[in-house]
């Protein structure tokens, strides 16, 4: 019933959707790699599939590309069902983690190989090659072999190979993970710029949540072959659907503090027990699902930036509590402070000029307006 409903809702959208994945399953023998995947994006969207290794994100990308076949379900690209359609006929282009440059061909040949296979006229090949080479600033490298290029240059060539295709959909499989930190940031910006100038539709796989946050217009977080949450970066960051998403996205990651919530009349209080100090009791101004009255164990999710220095002038709605400081980690623009609540390490993000000393007690401001509350058993978000 619910599947049918979903389909009904999805169908009218397909005309507009550049990519629609419906009820996709994939298994190897008895092992299920992907379970009931439903994703749709519109033209110009930058979809990032993110999750830890083994979550099935690369398999999903391969299914989209037609490099692997799905067990059940349908993939549509540009409204056309891709069942039984081979990769070359899907009007896609793909960039790989290892770049997968053809080692014996020059850069130019690498880029034009696809056109040559498809029988594009020589002149047209040359024109597109020049265009792309200029765009990516690799025109001086065209006669080199891949082995004579640096990592960043290879990355550009790989993108060039995808760009000449001018496809409906670009697929990127962890394209930046073989680069060093500095290059990775540079190339990230480059990809973002390309996306903006070309207005291309992109599906991008990464395990790096920062890449996901910075690049995506839409993020799909996956774990064990199941979509945990799909949404805009903002939604994913601020309203994580469950504890997994909350923990996976953001750096440093969200503090997940065991606590208990209590309904006292109209007001809701959340208290954190501490063995050596008195409990912290905080007001919470939203409804918690399943808490009508009485007491309930919950997990309180608080991003480090929502725990700050109580002396911070910008605090408006913070509630103050004293905590012992375990570790102080100055990071230039901010200072991270680690303390201990309910037996868990909790990170707070303070101003760089905060004067705080490890081993002493300091007072912190807790901003619960952006807090999440999770059900401890299932990990699902309940507020």
């Amino acid at each position: 019933m619910s599947n049918a409903m979903k389909k009904e809702m999805a169908t009218p959208q397909t005309a507009k959707n550049i990519l629609a994945i419906e009820n996709l399953d994939k298994s190897f023998g008895s092992v299920k790699i992907l379970k009931d995947i439903n994703v749709a994006i519109e033209p110009g969207d930058f979809l990032v599939l993110v999750g830890p290794s083994g979550c099935g994100k690369s398999t999903l990308l391969n299914c989209i590309a037609g490099l692997e076949s799905s067990t059940n379900g349908d993939i549509r690209i540009g409204g056309r069902s891709m069942t039984g359609v081979s990769p070359k006929d899907r009007d896609i282009a793909m960039v790989f983690q290892s770049y997968a440059l053809y080692p014996t061909m020059t850069v130019g040949k690498n880029i034009t190989f696809g056109m040559k296979v498809r029988g594009v006229a020589e002149q047209e090949q040359q024109r597109k090659l020049d265009e792309v080479a200029k765009l990516l600033q690799i025109d001086h490298l065209l006669n080199r072999k891949p082995s004579q290029l640096s990592g960043g240059q290879r990355q550009r060539v790989a993108m060039g190979r995808a760009l000449v295709r001018d496809p409906q959909l670009f697929l990127f499989d962890e394209p930046l993970s073989n680069l060093d930190a500095k290059l990775r940031v540079e190339m990230r910006t480059e990809i973002k710029r390309l996306h903006q100038t070309l207005g291309a539709s992109i599906v991008y796989v990464t395990h790096d949540q920062i890449e996901a946050m910075t690049l995506a217009t839409k993020i799909v977080v996956m774990k064990d072959g199941v979509i945990q949450q799909a949404g805009t970066p903002n939604e994913i960051y601020n309203q994580p659907a469950n504890m997994f998403v909350a923990d996976f996205m953001g750096s440093p990651s969200m503090n997940l503090i065991p606590a208990s919530a209590e309904k006292q009349g109209d007001a809701t209080k959340i208290s954190i027990t501490r063995p050596d100090m008195e409990d912290i009791v905080l007001d919470f101004d939203r409804e918690i699902e399943g808490l009508k009255s009485g007491k309930k164990s919950v997990i309180l999710g608080l991003r480090p930036e929502n725990i700050t220095d109580s002396t911070n002038q910008h605090i408006t709605k913070g509630q103050i509590a004293d905590c012992r400081v375990d570790v102080v980690e100055p990071a230039g623009s901010d200072t991270f402070v680690v303390t201990n609540l309910a037996g868990k390490q909790v990170t707070a993000r303070l101003n760089a000029d905060a004067t705080i000393i490890a081993g002493e007690t300091a007072s912190f401001a807790f901003d619960l307006s952006k807090a999440s509350v999770f059900e401890p058993e299932t990990g699902a978000r309940i507020a």
Binding site: L67, P87, A93, F96, S98, A100, T104, M105, V117
Partner: protein, 303 residues
């Protein structure tokens, strides 16, 4: 104090000199050992060459390991074009061409098949492909004497008994295991993404093989060709069993010269013939030996 430092300095120098001496001694030992080994490896060849240059009288009377008193090349000419391999006394020459005719296509076909099998088994795996690979590999280890008789029956049934194509088929079949192993182990080191990229680019199975995989394969092709050529050129057992008059390979002719049973033995001709028969493989090793090691380095030794 100064005395001390002087001593230290001298000690240092002595230590340095000692170290240097030790290094030189080590190096010397190393080269000596290497040369001793080289002598061990060269000894049979030396005996063969020396004997081939002696006259029959000298062989009968002198020591087999001594240098020839007079160098006599006549046995080489005789081995090539005059020694009796039966009623005909045309030397190895006609058989040499049989072997060439046999081994070049057989090496080429078995290498190509190995390449494409290896390509499938490394890059286009399917369910059960590993088991199939294992089954193919097992074929490398079958002792050839075991298959002689059933092979004879089969070749007869295929109507290619005694022909060069028949002999070629035998060599190809029993070469596939090794050639597939070489190529498969080489191709597994190539990232699978290459195939994916090419698929997305629109290339099919054969296009990917011919324009991407084959061009990266020279190192392993060298290894495979050397291996197969050596095997096929030197084969006697299949050659003697599955050839007939007119299709016999050079090893059979060499055997006829060397292993004559109840006639007068001409050892100088025997040895010259042996060296002539071995020349092509020797040449391959001398010329391509460098690439052989390089090819092995390039992946065939890795699991």
């Amino acid at each position: 104090m100064t005395d001390h430092s002087m001593n230290d300095h001298q000690l240092d120098e002595r230590a340095n000199r000692n170290r240097l001496m030790k290094r030189i001694a080590l190096r010397l030992g190393l080269y000596t050992l290497l040369i001793l080994f080289a002598l061990y490896y060269l000894m049979p060849l030396f005996v063969m060459v020396v004997t081939s240059l002696k006259s029959l009288d000298e062989i009968r009377t002198g020591s087999l390991l001594s240098l020839p008193r007079e160098i006599d090349f006549s046995s080489w000419g005789k081995a090539w074009s005059g020694a009796c391999t039966g009623i005909q006394c045309n030397g190895l020459q006609p058989y040499f061409w049989n072997s060439v005719l046999l081994s070049i296509p057989a090496v080429a076909i078995s290498t190509l098949l190995g390449a494409i099998n290896g390509y499938v088994l490394a890059q286009w795996r399917f369910k059960g492909s590993n088991i199939l690979f294992a089954l193919m590999l097992f074929g490398c280890f079958i002792p050839f004497q075991v298959v002689l008789l059933p092979m004879a029956i089969t070749l007869g049934a295929l109507k290619i008994a005694g022909t060069i194509p028949g002999l070629m088929l035998v060599h190809i079949v029993y070469g596939i295991g090794f050639t597939t192993l070489f190529f498969r182990n080489f191709y597994v080191t190539i990232p699978q993404e290459l195939v994916k990229a090419a698929k997305v680019d629109g290339a099919g199975f054969f296009r990917i093989f011919f324009s991407i995989f084959l061009p990266v394969s020279p190192p392993i092709i060298v290894v495979t060709v050397i291996w197969q050529f050596t095997q096929i050129w030197n084969d006697f057992l299949f050659g003697v069993s599955f050839s007939q008059a007119g299709t016999q390979p050079i090893t059979v002719a060499l055997n006829n010269i060397v292993n004559a049973t109840t006639g007068v033995k001409e050892y100088n001709v025997d040895m010259a013939a042996a060296i002539i028969a071995a020349l092509p493989t020797l040449l391959v090793y001398v010329v391509a030996g460098k690439y052989f090691i390089r090819g092995l380095t390039a992946g065939s030794v890795k699991g």
